[in-house]
Symmetry: C2
């Protein structure tokens, strides 16, 4: 049955399971292990330079001959005032001072790196490309289509899914509010797009013709089969893969997930400027309490990156982003291959109990 | 398979489907139609006087010989200042003036009505009792157990589910954040208990021994089977039954659900003093924008009831509560029997597609 799902056929994988992009937390070992296990590994390339991505692609291709994907963030035009940057820098000063950090330069952001990454993907014949934060320009989609790259978009509402279908994406991820990490929302009202996975998946399935991948709170074989019953053709998991041994997430981050409760996460834009779900900590509460204006992505991200990075070096979870979905009690200290295999095994068990 | 689910066996029903309490929106016809179709109808008795409940029980028993349930709100001690009541009355004055309403008296609330309703349930041998907003006193649970009444509690977190199990409830409803109407939360931090149904159900299943009923965003046979795959032994649906012809919800309320989008609902305490999900409207935004302190349930409820009732008489949806879950695009203009039958039919189809 697994190979018959549309996602399996489109992506030429054995099982309709996608390891989510998780920018900053994937390793070539993780991506290859997932793909070698028959699912679809994904290089989380959102924050990578083209050179870094090229190196990652080569490493993954050394480790697997199976299909894998690259996840990219769709660039967008942003507007902000330098006075807002100065205000945020003042707010962040005590954290930087405690960690011995300088004020970072605000980088200029244009679409050139994004376009270079697309060209790399085509050059190295990476078979699948997933996008977060919106719809890539039509010229990008045409390049990928000409190169026979399968494209995946991410939606948090029915309207976003319909927009992705109209643009010509091959597959849509229906990301419910249960999901960890960045919300793929690209509507103007991110808080209104907090629709639970159980509700969102069948509503998107009913309103688009392209295959739907369920995401958000799916952690094991139960979530896999439940999603297929809702009409999804596959699932995408972030948090479940984040705690595997191959993931690049810091050990303190993995431990935080393995030890927290389903009520411990919150959605916040204070780390990156875009809404993302993670475990609550002091940094979130303090910046929020300040009432300061959060800068748009990726500026806010640029301003907080060195703080989070330095905090993670000394295991100070209070000042790190601890991305996590709501299915935390189901997270496991395991490896990627075992996770994929146990999902398939448990999924079959779920089905068989009703086949007697 | 349906009759083998633990919920079916405990409640002596053919299908593991429960029509949610929906205080204010059930009719004897709805409850009887659901039970006659082989599922479990529920009298939403949260706001009823004992006399009203007695009349409802008699009417339901005239219409069906099948098991049905009664849903009650667990009373609790509350504290508030009369100055806060005056402030809220001042805020509500323009609405009352526009509708020609007087200021209502603040009623005294004790547990005596609740205890009378328990006695009625036992007197009329109602087989199932479900509770919202907490854990009934041990003496109440003992009375019900002695009378062989099956008890159902409602949880929005793993810890609430465990507390219900410890107290001796027979069944626990796992109410995800997708759900419409009142949140069953009884922890101190209602906003932290917003865990999606897809995430919540398996985590509760793994952490209690009593059977779990999934609730929140379940609207059809897909949601039914998905919930069973997550480990639930049954499902509870509110919004899906609210739009059936037998429900007492106002036509404008039904139409609002049938015409809204999955992003149109919000969780608010401004109507009743307890958090509940409904379609956003002017009343919610205006009261929220005022910054006024919301009184605890049931005082806030007492203060807004006449406004909502009068508004509904003239079809002014801007000033009504429009309870709804997030699965709105799946809501149907149908009758209760057809809804149950179509869920079972669609559920079988979902399973059969993987049985080849």
């Amino acid at each position: 049955m697994w190979g018959q799902m549309e996602i399996s056929q489109l992506c030429q994988i054995d099982y309709p399971i996608i390891q989510a992009g998780m920018a900053g937390s994937t390793t070539p070992e993780l991506v290859a292990a997932v793909s070698n296990a028959g699912a679809l590994g994904t290089i989380g390339a959102g924050y990578m330079t083209p050179d870094e991505l090229e190196s990652e692609i080569k490493q993954v291709q050394d480790l697997t001959a199976k299909p894998f994907a690259i996840n990219l963030f769709v660039p967008e035009d942003i507007q902000y005032e330098m006075s807002e940057v100065r205000q945020m820098n003042a707010l962040l000063h005590p954290y930087r001072q405690a960690l011995g950090l300088d004020v970072p330069n605000v980088k200029s952001h244009d679409a050139s790196d994004f376009e270079l990454k697309i060209k790399l993907m085509i050059k190295y014949q990476v078979p699948v490309c997933s996008f977060t934060f919106g719809i890539p320009h039509q010229s990008i989609l045409e390049q990928l289509k000409s190169a026979n790259v399968i494209t995946i978009g991410s939606a948090t509402t029915v309207e976003e899914a319909q927009a992705l279908e109209r643009a010509g994406l091959d597959i849509v991820v229906a990301q419910g509010s249960d999901a960890g990490g960045h919300r793929g929302s690209f509507s103007d009202k991110p808080y209104e797009t907090m629709v639970g996975t159980m509700s969102l998946v069948p509503q998107i399935v009913d309103n688009v013709s392209i295959p739907v991948v369920a995401a958000g709170g799916i952690m094991d074989g139960r979530g896999l089969i439940a999603s297929l019953m809702l009409g999804a053709q596959g699932v995408q998991l972030g948090t479940a893969f984040l705690t595997t041994r191959e993931s690049k997430a810091k050990d303190v981050h993995k431990k935080a997930i393995l030890n927290c409760k389903e009520t411990d996460t919150i959605v916040t834009d204070i780390f990156s400027g875009k809404m993302a779900r993670g475990i609550q900590n002091a940094f979130i509460h303090e910046i929020k309490a300040s009432g300061a204006k959060i800068l748009p992505y990726p500026i806010q991200n640029d301003l907080t990156t060195s703080i989070r990075s330095a905090a993670s070096q000394i295991g100070k979870t209070d000042w790190m982003h601890l991305w996590s979905g709501q299915g935390v009690r189901l997270a496991q200290d395991t490896d990627a291959k075992s996770l994929v295999e146990s999902m398939i095994h448990k999924g079959k068990q779920c089905l068989n109990q009703f086949n007697q």
